[in-house]
């Protein structure tokens, strides 16, 4: 049996009680090494994926399915900035409440309207760049906030995460 990559050695015997960062042996922070995340996900899948258990007992197949679902769920959550931030908030017992229609700041809403107007007037390329730079700024701030997650920072992080989701949706609609 091949020896797995260095970081994965530290992972405990696989269990559902691990949080997503522990599962992939990555530090609990907003900044993430996506390449490493992917590598660790692949290493785990090589061990638990249902394809490895085609000839196994029905019990083992069920467990393999559950493990793999968990790995996929964790990977999907950590892979994207919005879901990663939402998950970090959850680890600190803060619900990001995406579904609730809590008001955004007036400044934020004005920016959205301005962008949408300009998109209709064929300025998509320019607007895309502006959205991307707003996203990058937001993500930098989130990184800072999650590194010192006191109550105030977490509330601000919640607001910024909801804004980040807005930006993402806008970019996808373009």
């Amino acid at each position: 049996m091949k020896k797995a990559g260095v970081g994965v050695e530290k992972v405990l015997p696989f269990n559902f009680k691990l949080n997503y960062f522990e599962l992939f042996d990555l530090p609990e922070s907003f900044a993430i090494d996506l390449k490493l995340l992917r590598e660790r996900m692949r290493e785990l899948q090589k061990q638990c994926h249902p394809d490895r258990f085609i000839n196994s007992t029905p019990q083992e197949k069920r467990i393999s399915m559950q493990y793999t679902v968990f790995v996929n769920e964790a990977f999907t959550a950590l892979k994207s900035p919005v879901t990663r931030a939402a998950y970090l908030l959850k680890l600190h017992d803060v619900d990001v409440e995406f579904e609730k229609n809590t008001a955004f700041s007036a400044a934020f809403l004005m920016q959205q309207m301005d962008w949408r107007e300009r998109i209709e007037n064929d300025c998509s390329d320019e607007v895309t760049q502006e959205i991307e730079s707003a996203e990058n700024e937001t993500m930098d701030t989130l990184e800072r906030l999650f590194n010192k997650p006191d109550n105030e920072s977490l509330l601000e992080a919640k607001e910024l995460t909801r804004q980040l989701k807005f930006y993402e949706k806008l970019r996808n609609d373009l």
Binding site: P13, R42, T57, Q59, T76
Partner: protein, 636 residues
Amino acid sequence: MVGFLLCKEPTLLSDRDKLMALMQISEPGEQPIQQEKKFAIGIDLGTTHSLVATIKDGEVFVMPDENSNLLMPSIVHYGKNNIVVGQKAKEALIDDPDNTVISVKRLMGRGVKEIAQVAKQIPYQVSSHDGMVSIRTQQGEVSPIEVSAEILKALRKQAENVFLQTVDGVVITVPAYFDEAQRQATKDAAKLAGLNVLRLLSEPTAAAVAYGLDKQEKEGIHVVYDLGGGTFDVSILNFTKGVFEVLATGGDSALGGDDMDYVIAEWFLNEARISKALSASDLKLLIQISRQAKETLTEKKNTGITFSGKAANLTRDIFNQLINPLIKTTLIACKKVIRDSGIDLDEIVDVILVGGATRVPLVKEQIKTFFKKMPLSSIDPDQVVAIGAAQQADVLIGNRPGDEMLLLDVIPLSLGLETMGGIVERIIDRNTAIPVSKGQEFTTYQDNQTGMVIHVVQGERELVQDCRSLATFELKGIPAMKAGVARIVVIFQVDADGLLSVSAKELTTGKETQVVIKPSYGLTDEEVETMLRKSYEHAGKDVAARALSEEIVAGKQLLMQLEAAMKEDADALLSEAEISVLQEAMKNLFKTIEEKNRDAIRKAIKALDEASQSYAQRRMDTSMKKALLGKNVQDV
């Protein structure tokens, strides 16, 4: 995970002797018994052609029919008293087109209204009952699933004739863009054909495997452009260290080379000024002629078409004009999938071509322009999917212990639920890695409400009417409570084949609710059972005997798997008391098998299953730990 050790079957020992011999745990230091290779095949079940391939001694074999043809036409002819598949059925197309079914893949998992939108011309006589399509033949109405099952049976026979061995397992490919209903229909067809499906594999992924395992292929991001007879797929995969990971997939499950034939046919009717509507049989004929013209134009600059006493000359230029919109449609899908995957165009290492239609010169040109790369077709585009499927079948059946190849796929279309006002509430996004599981909580709106209906749809649109209805799930047996008090969690699970299963539980009482599935365009479990029974009776087989033999096979399989497992690590993982409990349950199952009592066997299988639950958990934990830390079981 180390492969299981299976005993080579000595022909002279009785069943009991064999199993009793296995029951003894081997002494440390004893040589493990050589694993006998199983016969696993890969099947490309195509719209126009199907193929079957296998791996023997590390080499790929695409298995031919009795006339040495590798491609079997996906055509089934229903004669007065017989059913003919393949080349012979293609010949019957001329004499008896009404009873000859072509391109049945286009009908799998579809309703009649959808067929009308999907294929401009439908050269069948279709009828519907409860929304699902069936085809009228002189042998009565047949479902597309039964027709596909005939093709699968023929392919299996072809394989078994070549190697004189029974097929142990099969990987069947489906378009990546096939939705749940289409996939389920394919699996049902395999069940009817009596095949043990190891995995439903996406066609682009299969092609990537064929190239990837070719050792010539570089690691990194690959695009697979798969234009088959009736479906178009485009997938973006990352290939590294034996793992093929689909990043995103897109396409059109109602667009393919067939459509090129249709536009030629339409052009001809126009040129020849034939305004009268054609009969289904004449249409089929004209389509075949058009297909030949298309193929000729790959090499030649023009070709003549003759039909119904009229003639016209089709040049490559005109042909290119006719098919240009079709190709543009595929490129739009390519743009979308690149966006979904998040990669940049210049990250792409190679573009792989799949499907006979990619031989058309204009298709190659436009792909080259779009991706700024010369696309690859070094592996025959007609065979590459079957080859990849055979590779995966070989790994999955266990013929390559220690092989690290792994295929990670995604769900191609979003799954959602119908909510108030006909709006779709999305539960699982497209391009999510599978297997995946999502829970959704519901509550009751009436006092003492004990049932609930959930409508699941697939697609990207906001309204239910614009998405594909998959099935309604009826929940029964919700404990009676005041309105709004019950908390029902419904779990939607999509497995590695892309198939959906639903389970439900009421949280305050912990009670599992019963889920009754009503597929919108598919067969219920009962209907599949009925079809199976019909086919056994037709073949003169005794239904009860078949059911019993299935239980016996399941029981023997479980015993052998457990035997092999316990041989490996029972001493390390179980106490003596636990071992003897397991052995007791195993002896009991063995006894019921000997007594050939179907119900008793089933009960004994269930009991053994439950008894081995914690052993299974320990094995999984240990093997994960072992693999991750690179140590032996003994050292743990």
